[in-house]
């Protein structure tokens, strides 16, 4: 690593340190929010359990198979939400002028915004999601092969990259439409809810758009099928689960292009 990169890294680390220090001035609030987030994730998982409790199977999948899907989705989402989730406050940054303040500093805009406001209170979500994944892996009868082990590592990372891209894409929308309100959450939180259940639950054009055109089907459902060794009732081959990193890279590429265009647009229109 050359001196310049080191210096830049130090600059970004300093931003992160500032965020950590800020929290110490709200210790009680931070503790409450940390545990509320823990509760939130637990409730998400409980919701799935309650839904499965009311029936024998959902779209032909049992409770423990469903648990594997929801845990893959929730771990990927939790990582993305932790790293990038606060970008959905972009409209506040634009309205309050933080965006301008960020643009006059000698660092890239996106990492600055992320590190200045890293939602550390969401840290415990990662623990819960990880624990649920362990339970799901142990309850299912998985025949472990080297490729499945690789997939198990890749799938949550790919999910995290994918959801991060969705967060950035949804936030970029506010560059063009400042009053878009909660629209972005249709795709971020909506995407999380979509991936919490097997894709055959959905139907028609809605399934086609969310699962395949936008790629949400490859976050948890296809990798889970590949891990379980189950055939896809919708007819995709078994290696489709291994496409999840590719889908994530494509999404990240889109997000980068749109974010750059968004910054350019912001620069040509002001707030």
């Amino acid at each position: 690593m050359n001196a310049k990169t080191k210096e830049l890294l130090g600059a970004y680390l300093a931003l992160l340190r500032g965020q950590v220090h800020s929290l110490t001035s709200y210790r009680a609030s931070f503790a409450v929010e940390l545990f509320s987030n823990l509760g939130g994730t637990t409730l998400d998982v409980l919701t799935v359990l309650v839904v499965f409790r009311a029936t024998r199977s959902v779209a032909g999948f049992s409770l423990i198979e469903g648990l594997l899907m929801v845990s893959l989705s929730s771990l990927g989402f939790a990582m993305a939400d932790f790293a990038v989730g606060n970008i959905d406050r972009l409209k506040n940054y634009v309205r309050t002028g933080t965006m301008d303040a960020v643009l006059v500093r000698p660092l890239a805009a996106l990492p600055q915004l992320l590190l200045m406001d890293l939602p550390l209170r969401k840290a415990l979500r990662l623990v819960v999601s990880g624990a649920v994944l362990v339970v799901a892996l142990r309850s299912n009868d998985i025949v472990w092969t080297p490729s499945r082990v690789v997939l198990l590592v890749l799938a949550p990372v790919a999910g995290a990259v994918f959801f991060s891209s969705i967060f950035v894409l949804s936030a970029s929308l506010t560059f063009w439409w400042i009053d878009s309100g909660e629209l972005g959450s249709s795709f971020t939180y909506g995407g999380r809810d979509f991936t919490a259940y097997p894709v055959p639950v959905y139907a028609g054009w809605f399934r086609a758009v969310f699962a395949y055109a936008m790629g949400f089907g490859f976050v948890a459902y296809q990798p889970a099928l590949a891990l379980l060794g189950r055939a896809d009732p919708l007819g995709l081959p078994s290696w489709a689960g291994f496409l999840s990193p590719l889908v994530a890279v494509v999404a990240a590429f889109f997000a980068a292009v749109v974010w750059r265009a968004g910054i350019r647009h912001y620069r040509s229109t002001g707030s």
Partner: protein, 314 residues
Amino acid sequence: MSLIQMHNLRKDFTVRVKAGRFRREKRIVPAVNGVNLTFERGEMAGYIGPNGAGKSTTLKMLTGVLTPSSGDVRVCGLQPVPQRTKLALQIGVVFGQRSQLWWDLPLRDSFSLLRHIYRVPADAHAGRLKRCRELLDLDDFMDTPVRQLSLGQRMRGELTAALLHGPSVLFLDEPTIGLDVVSKQAVRSFLAELGQGGDLTLVLTTHDLADIERLCRRLVVIDHGSVVHDGTIEALHARYGSHRRLVVDLDVPLPEGFAVPGAELLSVEADRHRATFELVTTQVGAVVSELTALRDLSVVEPDIEDVVAKLYRA
């Protein structure tokens, strides 16, 4: 080469105007309309204009926040938008109504974070910080979180934050807005002190013309996106025919038909015991020597607020 160059700089905004119940029309509004300006190293210039004249838009184009619609802009030899991060190391920016500081952290921490962000060597940082602490009396609140600072204290912190990396240009967007008289004075004398060095170029926008009178030799007035005046304050007065006024108190009433060439009698009050003259082409002595029974006199300097108000209305 000039430190700041603007050549035919232009910025258009598209606004949607309501046209009827559901239709909206696009209309292009020039916020900055072909501005040509240069600022030299060490210059202190005031940039004023009524609300919406294009002051902040110009400043945003100079700092790399906004892309110009057309025209050329160079700051420190760099193009602000494409070379934004490089330029950021050479300029300091204070937006009067926005903060560069960490809301929940003590000033001290914000300053040390900025050192890392701008990659400033420790000794250079310490030296600059020491100077600002002395000149701005920061020591009393270095350990107070920014959110608990008064506006005046915060502004002193913002100024320090903008200078710690040793910029060669300082852009100030309404640095005295909302401050009380004492804080305004503190900010002004600090900026005046900075200007003495002669290395720092300073461009400030303001609504308080006292800032300009105290700090800037050069005054640029912008209105509807165009520069309407560029020069010294004296030149502005000369151009708009604003003159000094002489007020005299007399022991006997001013005689009817009293006149002095080059001075215009503006008003008489108190049973003609007090008179006000505008000194158009002549000096105080010429009027005084014609008066009998003079008790007291005062000279009123022309008011820049009046001149600028005239300019905005024109």
